[in-house]
Point group: C2
Chain length 306, copies 2
């Protein structure tokens, strides 16, 4: 007789994350151009950067939002892929010598190290276009044209000068400059917050079933977990080690970049992390048990060590 396998809540959560990672990885593999297709070097570089692993935080958030809203995982592959493609393009460009000049990403040489700068710039450019292409082509079966238009608009705003790209510009301007807490938060709200917000908004827009109030609660949740993610990132930059992080420990401090620990002290940053986590959970109080994966993700962001 076989023994029943009992999973702890933590193990069940990790399994769920892994299964969603597999979902998005399969979808990404399907939507990325084949490596043996010309121009091969560009297509290889695109795949190299996207398929390097990574936590797939944004796709998982999108799928988890889908669960809270009764939207099947299979309807959300376009959104999940688009988010990860935008995120990856931003990592490729941020890592360039003219930007953060990073040699390591996800434990491997960065795209411009593995290929060359020109290819890395183009791979990022092509991934941005592919994100919008895939958002439409993969969602067209299950979303109306009106919903598709809203989704594309939302993603353009999250990615562009008033979102992620704008946040990166503020971040660059902040090197060797003292930012206030408000300025630091504004920078993160654009640089990472906008795309995390899009990760919960796009699924809500894709079905048309979510009320404006529901979307606002999801936005609040996203804002707080995005903030928590950043605070924890800054804390780990101080307390973690390079091997566990898969990127250079202390990189922000070395660049003289403002961080939550540098502004609030380590204890102050930890307290803010706790408050932010609480606010994220409270934003979901109108949602039932189907939002539990979203809640677990909020817990995980605070508890993670890499």
């Amino acid at each position: 007789m076989k023994e029943a396998i009992e999973l702890t809540a933590e193990e069940a959560f990790q399994q769920q994350l892994q299964s969603l990672q597999i979902e998005v990885n399969n979808a990404l593999d399907r939507v990325l151009p084949a490596e043996n297709r010309e121009p091969q070097r560009l297509h290889e570089a695109m795949r190299y950067a996207v398929m390097a692993g990574g936590k797939r935080v944004r796709p998982i958030l999108a799928y988890a939002t889908g669960m809270a809203l009764d939207i099947p995982v299979t309807h959300l592959h376009g959104i999940a892929c688009a988010l990860e493609l935008i995120h990856t393009y931003s990592l490729i460009h941020d890592d360039l010598p003219a930007m953060d000049n990073d040699d390591l990403r996800r434990g491997r040489p960065t795209c411009h190290k593995a290929y060359d700068e020109a290819t890395a710039i183009l791979a990022g450019d092509a991934l941005q276009a592919l994100a919008f292409e895939v958002l439409i082509s993969e969602s067209a079966q299950t979303s109306s044209d009106k919903q598709l238009v809203q989704m594309v608009s939302t993603l353009t705003l999250a990615a562009g000068h008033a979102g992620m790209a704008g946040g990166q510009a503020i971040d660059l301007a902040a090197v060797n400059r003292q930012l206030s807490l408000d300025e630091l938060q504004h920078m993160h709200r654009l640089k990472t917050g906008a795309l995390i917000e899009a990760s919960v908004l796009l699924p809500a827009l894709s079905s048309g079933k979510t009320s404006e109030a529901g979307r606002e609660q999801l936005k609040q949740f996203a804002w707080h977990i995005g903030l928590a993610f950043q605070i924890q990132d800054d804390i780990l930059d101080v307390t973690g080690d390079t091997e566990t992080l898969g990127k250079t420990q202390g990189a922000d401090i070395a660049l003289n970049k403002p961080t939550y620990p540098s502004l609030l002290g380590l204890d102050g940053a930890r307290q803010k992390l706790k408050d932010t986590h609480k606010a994220a959970i409270e934003a979901l109080q109108e949602f039932d048990h189907k939002a539990d994966l979203l809640r677990q993700i909020a817990d995980y962001i605070v508890a993670r060590t890499y």
Copy 2:
């Protein structure tokens, strides 16, 4: 008594081009983020690159296609701006030191020279996102959601790995390599042809009034004028050298970039230009006099001396 001012056909054509340039410049000025809005350096760089002048070939093609299809100029600003924003972002990135390493563009320092490399990369990234945003927001009054979705899809394909970005990757790989005529044409078809094709397709898609056959004819026209533009560019390179340096053809072979004259000889390239122009005009034979501006543009491309 005032003398009546009679314009030659050439002067009337030049006036029409100028008035359409003013149309798109006004629209671009309206859709670009204000320079005094944070992050200022990013927004300044975006405006610097876009508002530097330039022939506005793609917007003018879009407006001229609109004339052939009875679509008012005011309905096409979103398309015109989106095309020029994508084109400008590609110029900014192509000029970077890691790519073509150009210091001058449109008679002024390139974006990374006037600002810095990081800002130029981000300005390009943000302009790409803005292109899709503006395509939707500026066209939403006059195009249906279905049409908007088709337009965004078409532009993503033209801009991405299977279009402009892919063509640039092939171009980079072609330096110091002998390309066949087919390979050279394939490179240009992607690098510049795809966006020129989009310049006539997007207006056709925006109204929903154009038949599939009509769109196919416009595509044929676009392909041939794009090709003609490139052949004339290559010819001007050689004949310019001949006049100023007193050298005969073959000077461009030293640059190790494949060109039409290097593959076909100068006479062969001129014959191909003539044939291509003829094919462009023939593609429009089902269109009436309202397509005359498109025809004049084809003539102009062949006759231009700079």
